[in-house]
């Protein structure tokens, strides 16, 4: 007989927290559970009546008017439930790593509607700041409360290499390769070390606050940029090919070249990105830093403008769009996919200084890579397009046009 499915991850919800699961409407995220198993569990564990969105031709909300009812959004892997106190306890008492509580519905809905907890209506926006323990970006993306580290996930950083002797990477298993003729993978420019630090830096750096996200991930460093941080399509494509061949679930490439608003994306890059997705590798690229908001919003650069690549925009410490962050335009299909912290970002640097602060969508892109690695660990079957969907579905909505922020601010799994 099959072991009954359990709900609410013990790893992500403490006993104390489980007891605090409120009666009322809540959202549950299923990590890796088939639709039939999910419905069966919800029915048997808590006596819930479960429907699917396809059961309704119009509005499903009346269905949830009574407690004991729920809707399973099978394509999203999310159930919206209306539970009473007994049912909430019944669900909370059965732990399983394949299912997880997201939040009571009102909290999630509030974020989706764009209300920012940092900013009450009529108030000046709050400003996040680095603390002694962690950078503001880690706070904003929920990394500090995540139970995941990216363990077992391969993350590729295509950039100017990595200072392999940096004390924060000593003892770390790093696979590196240079695709720039005549140059090793050792980073002189600093851009690659910075990006690798944000995506996969240590949990406890030698100095200063924590700045890295997926400290447990396997780091693959492909050098595709030279000492002046310039490179060619050939280098980049060779790096992508290498990363795909090595089974990297996440490929972060903080590079690109500006395009005009009327330019379409490069068919070749789109083809490559689609193939990478099909092979289980998610490509991330910066939207670009050519804007001068509010007067000028430059178009999403290439290759981020390809539909199969996640274009990453940048936000500041108030979660407002960074002045330089490129965005979408009417008549152009290129859009920002998600945003991440991109101003005053602290990370690793080569040389004696060891650390530096930088701003740009280049800095935001490895943020997304790190969070994507945590999500990939949390959702073992989500790779390629499925990982992209999870990344976007779990974003926190922001009070800004979708063309500028896409699905919103990326969030680490709890």
């Amino acid at each position: 007989m099959t072991e009954p499915r359990r709900l609410i991850s013990a790893a992500s919800l403490s006993c104390d927290a489980a007891e605090q699961v409120p009666a009322g409407r809540c959202l549950l995220l299923f990590r890796d559970v088939g639709i039939c198993a999910a419905v069966d569990f919800l029915r048997h564990a808590a006596g819930l009546r479960i429907a699917l969105p396809t059961d309704y031709r119009a509005d499903f909300r009346p269905m949830l008017a009574a407690s004991g009812e729920g809707i399973l959004f099978d394509r999203l892997g999310v159930a919206l439930l209306n539970v009473d106190a007994d049912q909430a306890r019944a669900l909370a008492g059965r732990a399983d790593t394949r299912m997880d509580v997201l939040a009571p519905e009102q909290a999630v809905r509030g974020a989706r509607l764009g209300s920012c907890p940092l900013r009450a209506v009529g108030e000046e926006p709050c400003r996040l700041a680095d603390t002694a323990g962690a950078t503001w970006g880690l706070q904003a993306t929920g990394v500090l409360t995540s139970h995941y580290s990216g363990r077992g996930i391969r993350v590729a950083i295509l950039d100017s290499g990595l200072q392999l002797a940096h004390p924060d990477f000593l003892g770390r298993a790093v696979i590196s390769r240079s695709f720039v003729p005549g140059l090793s993978a050792a980073d002189v420019n600093g851009h690659g070390t910075f990006c690798a630090g944000v995506a996969c830096g240590p949990e406890r750096p030698c100095e200063g606050p924590r700045y890295g996200i997926a400290f447990g991930a396997d780091l693959y460093v492909a050098r595709v940029l030279d000492d002046d941080a310039g490179g060619t399509d050939g280098n980049v494509l060779a790096g992508i090919d290498w990363a795909v061949r090595n089974g990297c679930a996440v490929i972060s490439m903080s590079l690109g070249s500006p395009v005009a608003v009327e330019d379409s994306y490069a068919q070749l890059y789109e083809q490559v990105a689609a193939r990478a997705l099909a092979a289980g590798s998610l490509l991330l690229a910066p939207a670009g830093n050519e804007s001068q908001r509010p007067e000028l919003i430059a178009a999403v650069q290439q290759p981020a403008n390809c539909p199969s690549i996640v274009a990453v925009g940048a936000v500041d410490q108030t979660l407002g769009v960074a002045p330089f962050s490129n965005g979408g335009h009417a008549g152009s299909a290129a859009r920002v996919g998600v945003v991440a912290p991109g101003i005053a970002i602290h990370s690793a640097a080569p040389g004696t200084s060891r650390y530096q602060t930088g701003s740009g969508t280049s800095m935001a892109t490895p943020f997304v890579a790190g969070v994507a690695a945590l999500l990939a660990e949390a959702h073992p079957n989500a790779r390629g397009a499925a990982l992209r969907a999870v990344l976007q579905q779990t974003c926190r909505s922001l009070d800004a046009p979708p063309r500028d922020v896409g699905a919103g601010l990326v969030q680490a799994p709890p």
Partner: protein, 89 residues
């Protein structure tokens, strides 16, 4: 003659014979340097006069002249301090 570095995307249905496609492109003047089998791309250089002929090779879906990728940073001091950021127009 102007010669340029190019990247050639091979169609999905031709990926299992990518080396044949490469041979055909070489016969049309491609100085073939790399075959990226996992993403189905050929790298090399080509005289621009031959670009359209290579594009017409069965199994080729795109030929792109190589562009430089370059990071453009926004590392200015103004983004590090709120007071300075206000100066941004």
């Amino acid at each position: 003659m102007i010669r340029a570095n190019v990247a050639i995307a091979v169609a999905d249905e031709a990926r299992d014979r990518i080396f044949e496609v490469a041979a055909t492109c070489r016969a049309l003047g491609l100085d073939h340097t790399s075959t990226l089998t996992d993403i189905g791309v050929l790298l090399g250089s080509l005289e621009l006069d031959n670009l359209l002929r290579v594009r017409a090779v069965p199994g080729v879906v795109a030929v792109e002249i190589e562009r430089d990728s370059r990071i453009k940073e926004a590392l200015e001091e103004r983004y590090r301090h709120p007071q300075a950021a206000i100066k941004v127009r």
